[in-house]
């Protein structure tokens, strides 16, 4: 039943996604763009994932039935017959799951399409008969189930009949843990964290961090957790206190047995938490990022050779008028000097800067003759900040100017110049002759710039390009394109993360479910010697909770530090979005935990 449900679930997920992917409207409008690529990649990821997920659940399914296979073997069933039985069973369950999954999927697809159209901001995607999606799902999963029906018999192969009959009921040696490896695990994790916090930079530091933290996490489960639990068993007053005796000792074994699984779950969750938080933050802050990299949304740099200047400025203002957008204009003369690279060194006068600063609500600058202040051409991020050295000078044309200060926030769109200096009005006037280029910058500041994308598109279509005479840069049109892409990535990412998340929880549950027959006998006997049902429930709950929540808590901790490294590369703050994502996942986890706990307790305590 559990196997059937997990198969149905994978098929349902795959099918819903396919319905979206193959929707006639999406196919028609997005076939070549990043949208289609991202969705196809998502579909492929779900397919690979389904294979692993179903493979894992079939292993569980067969292991719980090992005594049945033992009995059949004893009655003289040959290996071949047994394999055929398992293969046939798998195919039948697979087909049944496919029918159920697709039927349920068909019903749900309407809502799913509604959701997708809401997220992709396209007009409502109407319900349709997804023949293509059905064919693809059917063919894909038929292949998966055929593969699995070939692989599944391996799970019960090469065992003596007695082993099949007795399952894994043999007593085991208590797991050992070395204090040194435990310490090493802790050390590796904290080393990774310290590198992140101290923002140490050395070659391949990201790779070093991930390897250190991953190795540390593995040791955390295989050594440290066992070590700590074994220490607990030697504290009599704690260990011999009521149900502690049973669950602590049992957990020592479970931890060691499941170390690899817990490790995989932790890493999976870390990846899905951090990517989700990052995507969410990026998506939520696209406008913020654009507002920062384009302090003024419409920018027109006109060189002295630009004979279209008047026409273009009229085009800009009339288009903005047509769209009913209110705007403020500013014009600032600038000079360009040779810098040795494609991006020239720019200079503007203090008077020009102060006019821009007033428009952008920034501090005005006061500069004497012979002095200069550098203004960053990039947004204010940890790794793009300019460091000012003492007695630093800058040469512009024939002048050598003393650098007296730095402004870390850009005023022109990112990368408009290689470097940008503000100099005194007198020096600016004196330098006219020696500059490489000179020109005037026109800025159109629109308050409600995110709504200006259609105006920006119209202008971009008509203005053309001629880099020798002018440069035109606007943000609203790019913003809209980026926002759509991020929305899509977020949509696909969220979908896949949630699937991973549910699967990760199921994996842990499957491990408990594999042992449920054995544990059932154990609890029945414990209840005979006077363990109350409440105590039995408590033991099972504590164990399930520890194995269920610890990987997620560790993953959450890892993600916090992973996002920390990401933060240095982003202008917007990720923190609040990370919290939102974590809180959301945690709430879902608790819900999921209680669902699985109820199921587990029911099968554990049934007589």
């Amino acid at each position: 039943m559990a196997y059937f449900l997990s198969s149905t679930f994978s098929i349902l997920v795959f099918f819903l996604f396919a319905v979206n992917l193959f929707h006639p409207r999406i196919e028609a409008s997005f076939t070549s763009g990043p949208v289609y690529l991202v969705m196809s990649a998502g579909e492929a990821a779900i397919a690979v994932f389904s294979l692993l997920f179903i493979l894992y659940s079939v292993g569980t399914f067969l292991k719980t039935r090992s005594d049945e296979f033992g009995l059949l073997t004893m009655l003289g069933a040959t290996r071949k017959q047994l394999n055929r039985l398992i293969a046939l069973e798998n195919l039948i369950i697979g087909l049944a799951a496919m029918v159920t999954g697709m039927t349920v999927g068909l019903f749900l697809s309407k809502y799913f399409l509604l959701l997708a159209s809401m997220i992709l901001e396209v007009p409502e995607l109407e319900f349709y008969m997804p023949v293509k999606a059905m064919t693809v799902t059917f063919a894909g999963f038929l292949m998966i189930f055929l593969l699995i029906s070939k692989l599944a018999p391996l799970a019960v192969r090469s065992k003596e009949i007695i082993e099949l009959l007795k399952g894994n009921r043999k007593p085991k040696e208590p797991p050992k843990a070395s204090i040194w490896l435990s310490m090493a695990g802790l050390l590796l994790i904290s080393a990774g964290y310290v590198i992140v916090v101290k923002q140490m930079a050395f070659p391949f530091h990201l790779a070093v961090i991930s390897i250190a933290v991953s190795a540390g996490t593995y040791l955390f489960y295989s050594q440290l957790s066992v070590f700590v639990l074994r220490r607990l068993t030697s504290l009599p007053t704690l260990f011999f206190r009521k149900t502690n005796l049973v669950w602590i000792s049992d957990l020592v074994y479970r931890m060691k047995d499941n170390a690899r699984l817990l490790f995989v779950v932790t890493i999976t969750c870390t990846v899905s938490f951090s990517t989700m938080a990052a995507f969410f933050a990026i998506y939520q802050s696209v406008d913020e990022e654009y507002a920062k990299s384009y302090p003024i949304p419409f920018n027109y740099f006109s060189y002295s050779s630009d004979d279209q200047r008047e026409n273009h400025l009229t085009l800009l203002s009339s288009t903005l008028d047509e769209e009913g957008l209110s705007y403020q204009t500013v014009s600032v003369p600038f000079l360009e000097f040779e810098s040795g690279s494609r991006q020239k060194t720019g200079a503007i006068s203090a008077e020009g800067y102060n006019r821009l600063a007033e428009l952008l609500n920034r501090e005005p600058l006061h500069i004497q003759s012979g002095e200069a202040i550098e203004v960053s051409v990039w947004t204010n991020k940890a790794d793009t900040r300019i460091k000012l050295q003492n007695n630093h000078t800058v040469e512009l044309g024939q002048q050598t100017l003393r650098l007296i200060g730095v402004v870390q926030d850009n005023i022109f769109p990112e990368g408009s110049f290689g470097r940008l200096y503000v100099i005194s009005d007198a020096d600016f006037a004196a330098n006219h002759g020696s500059a490489l280029n000179e020109g005037v910058y026109y800025g159109y500041s629109v308050q409600n710039w995110t709504a200006a994308s259609s105006a920006a598109k119209k202008i971009a279509e008509q203005i053309g390009t001629d880099f020798s005479s002018f440069r035109y840069r606007s943000s609203p049109d790019w913003f809209q394109k980026d926002q759509l892409t991020y929305q899509l990535i977020l949509f696909v990412g969220a979908f896949i993360s949630i699937v991973f998340f549910i699967a990760a929880g199921s994996f842990i549950y499957f491990r408990f479910y594999t042992d449920v027959q054995e544990d059932k006998v154990k609890y029945r006997n414990l209840r005979k010697i006077g363990m109350t049902i409440r105590e039995a429930k408590k033991i099972a709950t504590v164990q399930l909770a520890i194995l269920f929540f610890i990987p997620f808590l560790v993953a959450a901790l890892h993600s916090v530090f992973a996002l920390q490294t990401l933060q240095t590369r982003m202008a917007a703050s990720i923190g609040s979005f990370a919290w939102m994502v974590l809180v959301f996942f945690f709430a879902a986890l608790i819900l999921y935990f209680f669902l699985l706990r109820a199921r587990y307790l029911r099968s554990l305590l049934e007589v």
């Binding site: 208590p174 009599p236 206190r241 049973v246 414990l526 005979k528 006077g530 049902i533």
Partner: protein, 256 residues
């Protein structure tokens, strides 16, 4: 004083084919008596044991253990009753293999929230009697079947139960270990005065009891008391078994 009083207990398993496992059983066990229950397969002896051990409810009749009527208690209190008043010894020992011998023995006391000091005191009292002092810190996979059963007996008596119930305690042991375990039961019965009820197939094991009750088809068929000599008692048991008939498989022809 009577430790166990059973009056007119019946048990009917409802189902497609209803089956009456126990028919109006009356049984009184005075304090300190060591009673064996014998009978062929399907005679109802396990059902009787389950009813006495309160894990199964009788359809009719009354069970009084140590002056209390456990079947009237709600489930939670019933479990507490079991861990305070009853001790269990099983055929397959049922020791938790994740624990050491000592931890297994402590289990019922730990569940009851008894302090570690008290637990150790009790253990020091009974460990020499059971001869398990050397194996206390070993794991279950490190000890033999006979030792495992002794550990299980220690677990069953450490809380000084009113009644010790044993279900085929020698069923999984070889002849030598079986004899040791039975000697031990009798020793505990004499030394500590524990009241005991043992279900068994094995006439040799039964010959260690003070009194043996024979059950057939859900009712008491016969009962005999032990005299001076164990050998005579063994013959008497064999006589009843062969007279009772039942399933010949249950009667070993030659033992010892």
């Amino acid at each position: 004083m009577n430790m166990l009083e059973i009056s007119k207990v019946s048990k009917i398993y409802e189902g497609k084919v209803s089956c009456q496992a126990l028919r109006h059983i009356d049984l009184i066990i005075p304090k300190g008596q060591f009673v064996g229950v014998m009978g062929p397969s399907g005679s109802g002896k396990t059902t009787l044991l389950n009813v006495i051990s309160t894990i199964d409810h009788p359809t009719a009749g009354e069970v009084v253990i140590n002056g209390k009527k456990p079947h009237q208690l709600p489930a939670e209190q019933l479990a507490v009753f079991r861990r305070r008043e009853l001790g269990f010894v099983f055929q397959d020992f049922n020791l938790l293999h994740t624990l050491t011998v000592k931890e297994n023995i402590f289990l019922p006391l730990a569940l009851d929230g008894v302090s570690v000091r008290k637990m150790n005191k009790r253990l020091n009292l009974i460990a020499p009697i059971l001869g398990i002092t050397e194996i206390l810190n070993k794991r279950i996979y490190e000890i033999s079947g006979g030792q495992a059963q002794r550990a299980a007996i220690a677990r069953a008596i450490i809380h000084e139960p009113a009644l010790l119930l044993a279900d085929e305690p020698t069923g999984n042991l070889d002849t030598k270990s079986s004899r040791d375990v039975m000697e031990l039961f009798r020793h505990i019965n004499r030394e500590i005065g524990t009241t005991m009820l043992m279900v068994t197939h094995d006439p040799t094991a039964a010959s260690y009891c003070d009194r043996v009750i024979f059950i057939r088809d859900g009712s008491v068929y016969n009962e005999i008391y032990r005299g001076e000599h164990q050998n005579d008692f063994y013959s008497a048991i064999m006589d009843v078994l062969s007279f009772m008939g039942g399933d010949s498989r249950d009667i070993p022809t030659i033992r010892n």
